[in-house]
């Protein structure tokens, strides 16, 4: 299972909107749409890990920080993003970061899912 983190991107949101339109016109079922999204999660995680090779530096002031369920959420102000050749200044940015060092990248929403069924023995 890959992170569903990237569904809240332009690419992910546009996919969800498109799927919603197809569901409303009853061209696909919601279950199939969910499968599409799961496949999207895998594809984008793989693409970002393998097809992107650039480094960015940034500096700013930290407004707020939050760490919950192994997810960091920051809000930075007056941030400068520097790449090799370019500079982008942002007055406010929110960073949502999942754990990238997790050995098995679990789905965020399935964090508390039960993986083992309890075994009950009955003595007669």
């Amino acid at each position: 299972m890959a992170y569903q983190l990237y569904r809240n991107t332009t690419l992910g949101n546009s996919l969800q909107e498109s799927l919603d339109e197809l569901i409303q016109t009853q061209q696909i079922t919601p279950q199939l749409a969910l499968q599409v999204l799961l496949q999207f999660d895998k594809a984008i995680n793989t693409a970002l890990a393998n097809r992107v090779r650039n480094r960015v530096n940034f500096r700013g002031s930290l407004n707020t920080y939050r760490f919950c369920d192994n997810v960091w959420t920051f809000v930075l102000n007056d941030v400068e993003f520097r790449e090799v050749t370019d500079l982008v200044k942002v007055d406010k940015v929110k960073i949502v970061a999942c754990d990238g060092k997790s050995e098995s990248t679990q789905n965020k929403s399935d964090k508390w899912s039960v993986t083992q069924t309890p075994q009950i023995s009955v003595c007669l």
């Binding site: 909107e17 498109s18 650039n54 960015v56 993003f81 406010k92 060092k101």
Partner: protein, 464 residues
């Protein structure tokens, strides 16, 4: 910038779309769906991505949706124009070029890089027409400057023109003075309005309960509202009663004073709130001072009654010294009543308890003040003790506004996290040393200004 200027983001996104569509093709077939459905999905997805600015680099290089190209005649000369103001024209259409109507009413176009450089001055009276047909008439001389776009503009000299509009500036500059007016009247109006209603309540209270009221009517200036004067009329008669009743009915007076005090506090707080919101302008500073003086007399009188009645001379110098308070102190005193009154307003059931608590604060502080002032001259000591009393009361009451400030912060949290500029990524390491944070992020997608950027590694620092 950030892998967005030459199309790598667009290529990445298209590759992701391809992967998803192809991987779902078999599943769609298993579901009994035609390829048309999958193609519709792809078409919808790609069209939405094209419409958004995320893949803006995928479009033709000459197009930038946030700007439009200004074309002027080749014979246009900057020296002929005078630069006075600049006009911002909101551009929301993708256009390559548009003709401009000159003063001679002949359409003429030019290519900006043909000898002209930014900024470009446009004379007044010129009408600009976009390719979409929209007309912008330049009423004031215009300076066309290069837009501070994210993408490097040097490689694209024919593009990005942003015309800044400052025509509404004179109008907007007139707005602040108007808005300042109501605010000026707020501080002086608050105490004035806060004291007016209570006198109405005083009149109805039996004489025994009026121990808390200042009996010194002559100290009240003639400009006071008639209501206040009417309330004070029975006070001189009560003055004698106060001395007789204080030792005997002290506990009773506490409870009896609770009702007028609560009413006073409630009304003061309500009036304060109304005054702040209604932005009263009509109160003179003199009236406000007088009302505040009255209020301070009440407190002093209450303190005097509750403390051991030793000196009959004290009320006079105490109240006489009220007039010596400067405006700042009086305003501070008024502010004391507001928050305590608000607490009464919020909880009607707990009113009596809060009234007693407030009285307890007044009584304790008043006792301290009077005890401190016993061993020194009446004038200076009492004024200083009153000041300390005021300061202590102010500290006690300011705690409530501080707590209420927390509520304000909580309300800002949803707005604080609500921003269009979002980075979704994974973190390798988050480090903090005191208030310095260091971020090691990876595999991120950033959406800024509707456009997307991607990175494989991101290292950042921030100070909290």
């Amino acid at each position: 910038m950030l892998s967005n200027n030459t199309g790598p983001v667009a290529k990445l996104y298209l590759s992701i779309i391809d992967d998803v569509i192809e991987s779902m093709r078999e599943l769609f077939l298993d579901e009994g769906l035609e390829d048309r459905v999958l193609d519709d999905l792809r078409h919808l997805w790609e069209s939405k991505m094209m419409q958004s600015k995320a893949m803006e680099d995928f479009r033709k290089n000459n197009i930038n949706s946030s700007n439009f190209v200004l074309q002027l005649p080749a014979s246009y000369s900057r020296t002929d124009q005078e630069l006075t103001t600049s006009v911002l024209i909101p551009a929301s259409h993708n256009i390559h070029s548009f003709p401009m109507k000159t003063n001679s009413e002949t359409l003429a176009t030019f290519s900006l890089p043909a000898g002209l450089s930014y900024p470009v001055q446009i004379p007044a009276g010129v009408t600009l027409q976009t390719a979409s047909g929209q007309l912008y008439k330049v009423n004031v001389p215009v300076v066309v400057t290069q837009a501070p776009a994210v993408q490097p503009l040097i490689s694209r000299p024919t593009q990005r023109v942003s015309v800044e509009r400052e025509a509404p500036a004179p109008q907007s500059s007139a707005v602040p003075p108007n808005t300042k007016r109501p605010q000026e009247g707020d501080p002086p109006s608050v105490p004035a309005s806060s004291i007016q209603p209570p006198p109405n309540a005083r009149i109805d209270i039996p004489p025994g309960q009026e121990n808390s009221y200042p009996p010194q009517q002559p100290h009240v200036p003639a400009a006071e509202p008639s209501q206040l004067q009417g309330a004070r009329s029975p006070e001189p008669d009560i003055k004698m009663d106060e001395n007789e009743q204080s030792p005997q009915h002290e506990p009773v007076n506490l409870s009896m004073n609770a009702s007028p005090c609560s009413q006073l506090l409630e009304q003061i707080s309500s009036e304060e709130a109304l005054a702040q919101t209604a932005q009263l302008k009509s109160q003179d500073i003199d009236d406000i001072l007088k009302e505040v003086i009255e209020e301070e007399r009440e407190k002093a009188e209450r303190a005097r009654i509750l403390a051991p009645a030793k000196n009959d001379n004290k009320p006079d110098p105490v109240i006489g010294l009220d007039l010596d308070f400067n405006y700042n102190e009086l305003s501070d005193i008024v502010q004391l009543d507001g928050p305590a009154g608000n607490s009464d307003m919020e909880e009607e059931e707990g009113g009596p308890l809060e009234e007693n608590d407030f009285l307890g604060i007044i009584n304790a502080e008043a006792i301290k003040a009077l005890q401190e002032g016993e061993g020194s001259s009446d004038g200076n000591s009492i004024s200083s003790s009153s000041d300390s009393e005021v300061a202590e009361l102010e500290e006690a009451v300011e705690e409530d506004p501080l707590n209420s400030g927390d509520d304000v912060i909580e309300q800002d949290i949803p707005d604080l996290f609500d921003t269009d500029n979002v980075i979704v990524c994974q973190y390798d390491k988050i480090h903090r040393s005191k208030n310095r944070w260091k971020f090691h992020l990876k595999d991120g997608v950033m959406c800024y200004g509707g456009r997307d950027y991607v990175f494989s590694k991101a290292v950042g620092e921030a100070e909290w």
